[in-house]
């Protein structure tokens, strides 16, 4: 009897569908309210600002969602890795050319993902392991940049950072493309299934013969590649890199994953939800900025939204027990 009693009722599939719907509904509500109350909100220019802001957070959040889905909570090193990769990209691109810069950054990202994956597997604690790696990355970024501003003068890079094919920024095209690919990875690819199963029940995944350690490494590699893309875009857009880039952004990435309703314990949800979460937060922040809400208050509100979202999801889980 005991084991049946303990076999806690899982969260219904409906809950997770609800999570995505809730995110979409909230996005619509914010857009309508903002559109009606704030004239500057519903302009093409502002729309592009929102999309670009959502894209930069969203691309990392999509990567982060693999880490969460694989049952490894979060990587707290994403912003620091972004700064390091941005510095490396600026250095290599300035010394050689753009393709070399991109190649080196991608290789560096894969390396950073694997190293972190190994550390997470060894310590069994993703939070502590990535926190430490965050310090390493930020420190290296500072050393490599000599604590100064690295400038690049590269027209191809500038195009990548500022072009708007069909009126939409390159960052946003990339965001939409990656969101679609990430959904396919989770739903159709073998790796996606392995990530989901590892996160749903790590012990059962090991017992079923899955290589959970490798899955963890790959999830962190995908996050790192997402971080690399954002680093490249950012340096390309502003033609400069600094070691304090993306400082404090880790919360935004995690918030997007949480507001999107991805199960904190892993194994339930899709990266698409993280993408929606990023859009939601970008909308909210933009709406408040246009209404001259102070930075402090803005932070408070976003934090409150995250607390509210995870509480609601938690309550829904409890109800199904």
């Amino acid at each position: 009897m005991t084991s049946i009693a303990i076999a806690r009722k899982s969260i219904g599939r409906r809950t997770w569908r609800f999570a995505s719907l809730a995110a979409v509904a909230t996005i619509v509500i914010i857009a309508v309210v903002a559109g009606l109350t704030t004239p500057a909100f519903l302009t093409v220019g502002n729309g592009l600002v929102i999309i670009r802001a959502a894209s930069m957070t969203g691309i990392v959040a999509i990567g982060m969602s693999y880490v969460t889905l694989s049952g490894n909570l979060f990587a707290l090193s994403a912003s620091a890795l972004g700064a390091l990769l941005a510095v490396i990209f600026a250095l290599v691109t300035a010394q050689t050319d753009l393709p070399a810069g991109i190649a080196v950054v991608l290789v560096g990202a894969v390396l950073a993902g694997v190293l972190q994956g190994v550390a997470v597997n060894l310590t069994g604690n993703p939070i502590i392991a990535t926190l430490a790696f965050g310090a390493v990355f930020r420190g290296l970024a500072s050393v490599l940049s000599g604590n100064g501003v690295l400038r690049i003068h590269n027209t191809a890079a500038a195009w990548i950072g500022t072009a708007r094919p069909l009126g939409v920024p390159t960052q946003s095209w990339t965001f939409v493309f990656l969101a679609a690919v990430s959904w396919l990875v989770i739903r159709k690819a073998r790796l996606g299934r392995q990530i989901i199963l590892s996160g749903a029940n790590r012990e059962a995944a090991v017992a079923s013969g899955l290589r959970v350690n490798i899955v963890t490494c790959l999830a962190l590699v995908m996050l790192s590649v997402g971080v690399a893309i954002v680093a490249i875009f950012t340096v390309a857009q502003f033609s400069e890199a600094r070691s304090n880039l993306f400082s404090g952004y880790d919360f935004d990435y995690i918030a997007a994953v949480l507001v999107g309703g991805i199960a904190l314990r892993g194994g339930q949800g899709t990266p698409l939800q993280a993408a929606l979460g990023a859009v939601l937060i970008a909308l909210l922040e933009n709406f408040m900025l246009l209404n001259n809400v102070s930075g402090g208050l803005l932070m408070t509100v976003v934090g409150t939204v995250v607390v509210g979202a995870i509480s609601v999801f938690h309550l829904l889980q409890g109800k199904n027990r």
Partner: protein, 494 residues
């Protein structure tokens, strides 16, 4: 003293108790019997305040009582010795005896606490131990006895003992029996949950049987026979519970020679043939599961040799075993048997992801075909494969945990406790499915603490006690009495 009326309790889709009545008089030992999964533990937890019933009434001493928490249960005079040990290893023996006792202040000195604990410990045969030592210094059996001492210290009106002797040796069991008798003579109402039928006849005045969430009217123990009792528990004749044994078995598949590993105190040897079911009987900690864990690649082999189909077999991780066609199903499906939050298709295909994918992409059609084939073999509703595993009953979850391994077409299936927490109907079904697999040549090695399960299911039986294999032989030569004797106190028999 205690009356329960029409008590019901469900966990999601699983009905644990449907309609249970229980009457216990003061000074009486009421044996509570039922198979694994019948609802005994749930009933006991409700009385202990650990679970709340969905409906039904509880009266103590004629007055209705609401037992909303363990504290309320204690206030109502109910004391509970759990199946799982609740001794805090880092606290002293005396502190454990008085754990949770509101009348013992924090400021009481260790020596006075020890003095107060002494008589309670003495009554359970622990009079010679130092109550100020930490509890972790003592054996599992002694810690179990400390729990009984705690029960004595509470001067309960109603005492619940949930399988108090599962981990004890014969001498210690006698101490428990004496304590229980004394308690009853003092006027305490005792609910005694056990799997050991011998204890039922020795100790209890009346028996209440629970089957599939329903209780039967209490019966005086003196009017019962062993066979009749078993049939009342099962709800059917024993022989209908289990499929017929294998008419013949094939070639040698697994040869285990002089193997020593964690959990064994002396080496074991046995041979398992194709199509044969070998059952290892033993209590928790007896070593019955030790060699299973080696074969699964979970623990290392200290010495000895294992060959599978004539080739040396030394798995270092679970993957090695799986690759060699050896499947392992642990005794804890919640921990590592099922993905509760994922659907049945994903659960059933988990061990064969590589087979149902190509170029890194899942092949949905191959996956569906595969999982449907597996589901049909284990009688899992193929129209319900989209359901989450966690929403299934224990029996259906166990079918998933076992059935998924059929997908890798193993030559050897290793199972710990094949039917833990599975209701009677599903148990018979699981036995039938396992037997159907051996008829196709699969060899099954299982360990179980359930004597009747081993006796009914296996072709060959090995018995374990304290890290040693007592004997191994054909099931035809075994009886429930021999197995029970072997796994509890073989020395007495010899």
């Amino acid at each position: 003293m205690l009356q329960m009326r029409n008590v019901a309790k469900r966990y999601g889709a699983t009905v644990a108790l449907e309609n249970v009545n229980l009457d216990v008089k003061a000074g009486e030992v009421m044996a509570l019997l039922g198979e694994n999964g019948a609802g005994k533990s749930t009933l006991v937890k409700i009385l202990a305040g650990l679970e709340q019933p969905d409906s039904g009434a509880i009266a103590i001493g004629g007055k209705p009582h609401n037992i909303g928490s363990p504290a309320q249960a204690r206030a109502a005079g109910i004391s509970y010795v759990a199946q799982e040990l609740s001794i805090v290893g880092t606290l002293s023996v005396a502190e454990n005896v008085f754990l949770g006792d509101q009348t013992v202040g924090l400021l009481r000195s260790p020596s006075s606490l020890a003095r107060r604990a002494k008589p309670f410990l003495a009554r359970i045969g622990l009079g010679d131990i130092d109550p100020s030592l930490p509890a972790e210094a003592f054996s599992v059996a002694e810690r179990q006895l400390m729990e009984i001492a705690r029960l004595l210290s509470r001067e309960a009106r109603i005492a619940i003992l949930d399988e108090p002797t599962a981990a004890l040796s014969e001498v210690e069991i006698d101490r428990v029996k004496t304590a229980v008798r004394t308690l009853a003579e003092e006027g305490c109402a005792i609910i005694y949950v056990t799997h050991r039928l011998g204890e039922v006849f020795e100790l209890s005045h009346r028996v209440t049987i629970i089957r599939n969430g329903h209780s039967f009217a209490p019966v005086a123990t003196s009017s019962l026979q062993v066979d009749g009792l078993i049939e009342m528990m099962l709800g059917r004749r024993l022989e209908q519970m289990f499929p017929p044994r294998a008419p013949s078995v094939g070639d040698k598949l697994l040869v285990v020679e002089d193997c020593l590993c964690q959990g064994l105190s002396s080496p074991v040897s046995f041979i398992l043939r194709k199509g044969e079911m070998l059952g290892l009987a033993g209590q928790v900690g007896s070593g019955a599961t030790a060699i299973l864990k080696v074969l699964a690649g979970l623990t290392p082999l200290y010495r000895g040799s294992i060959t599978l189909d004539g080739r040396p077999f030394t798995p270092r991780v679970i993957r090695d075993s799986i690759k060699m066609g050896v499947a392992y199903c642990s005794d804890d499906r919640k921990r590592d048997g099922v993905f509760a939050v994922r659907n049945l298709v994903e659960n059933l295909s988990a061990p064969v992801i590589d087979q149902v994918s190509r170029f890194g992409l899942m092949n949905r059609r191959a996956e569906t075909t595969h999982t449907q084939a597996v589901a049909q073999q284990f009688n899992i509703d193929i129209n319900g494969l989209g359901r989450l595993a966690g929403n299934l009953s224990g029996g259906n979850q166990q079918k998933v945990a076992l059935g998924k391994w059929i997908g890798i077409s193993p030559s050897l299936l290793i199972v710990e406790e094949p039917t833990r927490g599975v209701d009677v109907g599903a148990r018979a079904e699981i036995y039938r499915h396992l037997r159907a697999q051996t008829a196709r040549g699969l060899a099954i090695l299982f360990a179980s603490s359930d004597t009747h399960e081993v006796l009914g299911l296996a072709d060959t039986i090995g018995t374990f006690f304290q890290g040693e294999m007592v004997q191994i032989g054909s099931a035809d030569a075994m009886t429930a009495e021999i197995i029970t004797r072997d796994v509890t106190h073989p020395a007495v028999a010899a």
